[in-house]
């Protein structure tokens, strides 16, 4: 409802769009993924602090843990792709099929 909420929702939408539309590098998708998780985290934290809903104040922390794991896995995939292809251009992805 409030402007801050809309601000964060717009940030979320922009990151989502960036995740779904990326040109050539895989790492930009991962970066947008980070943006998504960040905006979600700030949305959740603000709402909970605003409504003094103390019982749910562990939700942002758990969210942060999962975001970190996700980033790590994404980077591991990036490293493997970079090992096999040398770059992370997405046009290479369907070249080597098994």
């Amino acid at each position: 409802v409030s402007l801050i909420h809309i601000n964060i929702l717009i940030a979320f939408t922009i990151s989502l769009t960036g995740l779904l539309i990326y040109r050539s590098h895989l790492i930009s998708a991962l970066l947008c993924l980070e943006g998504i998780t960040l905006s979600l985290f700030i949305l959740a934290a603000l709402t909970i602090l605003n409504s003094h809903f103390t019982l749910a104040s562990m939700i942002p922390i758990i969210l942060l843990v999962f975001a970190a794991r996700e980033a790590a896995i994404g980077l591991a995939l990036l490293v493997i792709i970079s090992n096999t292809y040398g770059t992370d251009y997405v046009q290479n992805f369907n070249l080597l099929q098994c």
């Binding site: 989502l16 995740l19 779904l20 539309i21 992805f93 369907n94």
Partner: protein, 606 residues
């Protein structure tokens, strides 16, 4: 206050002086060799003083001067035990080393590193003396390892030759296997008697001394080339002849026997170990005598002869006669060193030819060497009243008239006759008949550096037995009476061997050379022992370790079971269950368009 302790310490110190002089400029001059030789001569003369005092008054000494370290209750100090064995051995060893050094001035004359050679010989002599005069096992071990190291350096003297390197490594490995037994005994002595001093070991009469003696026996077997640990000795003939004469005939190989002799108070109460030593010695003496019969390298024949005599010494220890074994050590040193020096003279004069099939007719050309060689061979076989007689005949008499294992006795007697046979082989193939070497050889033996050592050792070979056995104080009751046929056993076996050898020699001289029979192959290839044992166990061990450690543990258990299997299963499963084509941008775009259309339609359609 007499000269005893001072003479001993002076002897030992004098021998270290040329080594200390090796860092100066004197080391590079030509006089260094004569200096070393003279030092050994002086050490010999000075060491005669304590020996004479011992013979006269039976005075033994224990010199314990420097307390090195005390670890808990173990006190280690630098102590020298001058008793019957070490006092008798020192002059003999120094005399022989003096003669060998004089010989090697002539033999190694053209070698550029001759000064280093002399330094190595001297370090070897010092470590051998440390071994014989050691009072505690730690010092003995220092000497033990020292002679092993010097043997390695001297066998591999011509290290450009790969055979010499292999032989040196072989010597070290076989000695090391024996050292395991030595360390076992040292540990047992440390944990059960709390000491490494010989006095305390002999004082504390333990119930069963099986374990340390079982440990000392492989140590002696490794150092003295008994059966099972013997191939290094014939391979050690890759070294120069002075090395073979010093190390592998007189001094180093008797170190193992000397160790067992030192421990005779423990051995005389332990029948099983005596029997083991007896059997091992009998087996060794026969096996190496068989191997010596068909060798073609003169140095290898003499090496096997040494090995056979060492087996005989082991037999003597097994008969509970350590003093006879020691007498045999001293007398054997003389004629064996002389045999090696004669072979060195022959080899050098024939332009480094060592194969006896290419020698012959040296009887008239090298008269002095011929004399020495024949005398040495006769002393070796135990010709009455030469040196070998005084020890070897006594050993055979003791063997035949003691309550002992008949099999071991039989083997020893057969080996005695084989000794005569291969001695005849050496003499007839190198000295007699027509020459088989190329005609243009400049053969002379006029150099006094060659003649004088052989002359000295010749006099020693003839008289030393008499002198030693008349001057050595008897420590055991000698054997007084025995039946006539037992007394003549050794002589009969030797004469039998000679007759057999001469017969075979005469009737096979003019025939066509036969293909070697199976028995000849067995004997020439040393009973197939090196062929089998040097290849099969290492191959098996390495294959087993490759299968177990690399293939099984590393590759399979820690690499292929979980990680690679998981990856493989995942890959197969994902390929099986998915039919995607990896067009990521298309998928993302379609997702985005779907989301946008949904949001728009839900916004405008209420």
């Amino acid at each position: 206050m007499n000269l005893f302790t001072s003479s001993i310490l002076l002897t030992l110190f004098m021998l270290t002086t040329p080594i200390m002089a090796s860092s100066t400029n004197f080391y590079k001059s030509n006089k260094y060799q004569h200096y070393v030789k003279n030092m050994t001569l002086l050490a010999f003369i000075i060491s005669l003083i304590p020996t004479t005092m011992f013979i006269h008054t039976n005075q033994e000494t224990l010199i314990s001067n420097w307390h090195w370290i005390t670890i808990h209750t173990l006190k280690l100090s630098l102590s020298f035990k001058m008793d019957y064995f070490s006092l008798m051995f020192m002059p003999v060893a120094l005399f022989i080393t003096w003669s060998i050094m004089e010989f090697s001035i002539w033999y190694m004359h053209s070698d550029p590193n001759i000064n280093q050679f002399f330094k190595y010989l001297l370090i070897f002599l010092i470590t051998m003396l440390i071994l014989t005069t050691a009072n505690n096992l730690f010092q003995l071990f220092i000497g033990w390892e020292g002679v092993g190291i010097m043997s390695f350096l001297l066998i591999g003297w011509w290290f450009g030759r790969s055979d010499a390197n292999t032989a040196a490594l072989q010597a070290i490995l076989y000695n090391r296997i024996g050292d395991i037994g030595f360390l076992l005994s040292m540990t047992w002595f440390l944990s059960n008697m709390n000491t490494w001093d010989l006095q305390q070991i002999f004082m504390l009469d333990q119930n069963s001394s099986n374990i340390p003696l079982m440990g000392l026996t492989p140590a002696a077997a490794g150092k003295s080339a008994q059966f099972g640990l013997h191939p290094w000795l014939p391979s050690a003939m890759e070294g120069p002849t002075p090395v073979s004469a010093l190390l592998h005939s007189s001094t180093m190989v008797v170190a193992g026997i000397f160790l067992l002799i030192r421990f005779y108070p423990l051995m005389e109460n332990n029948k099983p170990v005596q029997t083991m030593v007896l059997s091992l010695g009998a087996l060794t003496t026969l096996f190496t005598a068989i191997c010596a019969l068909t060798q073609n390298d003169i140095k290898k024949i003499i090496a096997f002869s040494t090995s056979s005599q060492l087996g005989l010494m082991m037999v003597t220890i097994g008969l509970n006669q350590p003093h006879l074994a020691f007498l045999h050590i001293c007398t054997h040193a003389f004629f064996k060193a002389m045999l090696f020096l004669c072979s060195g003279s022959i080899i050098h004069n024939l332009n480094n030819e060592q194969d006896i099939r290419k020698m012959g007719g040296l009887y008239k050309i090298l008269p002095f060497t011929t004399t020495a060689l024949i005398t040495g061979c006769l002393a070796l076989t135990g010709m009455p009243f030469l040196t070998g007689f005084y020890s070897k005949d006594l050993i055979i008499e003791a063997a035949t008239s003691s309550y002992t294992n008949a099999w071991a006795l039989l083997l020893t007697l057969i080996a005695t006759s084989l000794t005569a046979i291969y001695s005849t082989r050496i003499i007839s193939l190198t000295l007699l008949e027509q020459p088989r070497f190329p005609p243009l050889m400049s053969i002379n033996e006029t150099n006094p550096l060659l003649i004088n050592p052989i002359k000295r050792l010749l006099i020693g070979s003839i008289f030393a037995g008499f002198i030693l056995s008349n001057n050595m104080p008897p420590m055991t009751t000698p054997l007084m009476t025995m039946p006539l046929h037992l007394k003549l056993t050794a002589l009969m076996m030797t004469i039998l061997g000679f007759i057999l050898a001469f017969e075979i020699n005469t009737y096979s001289k003019n025939l066509k050379y036969p293909h070697p029979s199976n028995a000849t192959n067995f004997s020439t290839l040393l009973g197939y022992f090196p062929t089998i044992m040097h290849r099969l166990p290492p191959h098996l061990v390495l294959t087993m370790s490759q299968k177990l450690a690399t293939s099984m543990l590393d590759l399979t258990w820690t690499e292929a079971i979980l990680p690679k299997t998981t990856a493989y299963i995942q890959l197969k499963a994902s390929l099986l269950t998915s039919n995607q084509k990896g067009l990521i941008k298309l998928y993302f775009l379609s997702f985005l368009i779907t989301m946008t259309l949904t949001l728009l339609s839900f916004n405008y359609l209420e």
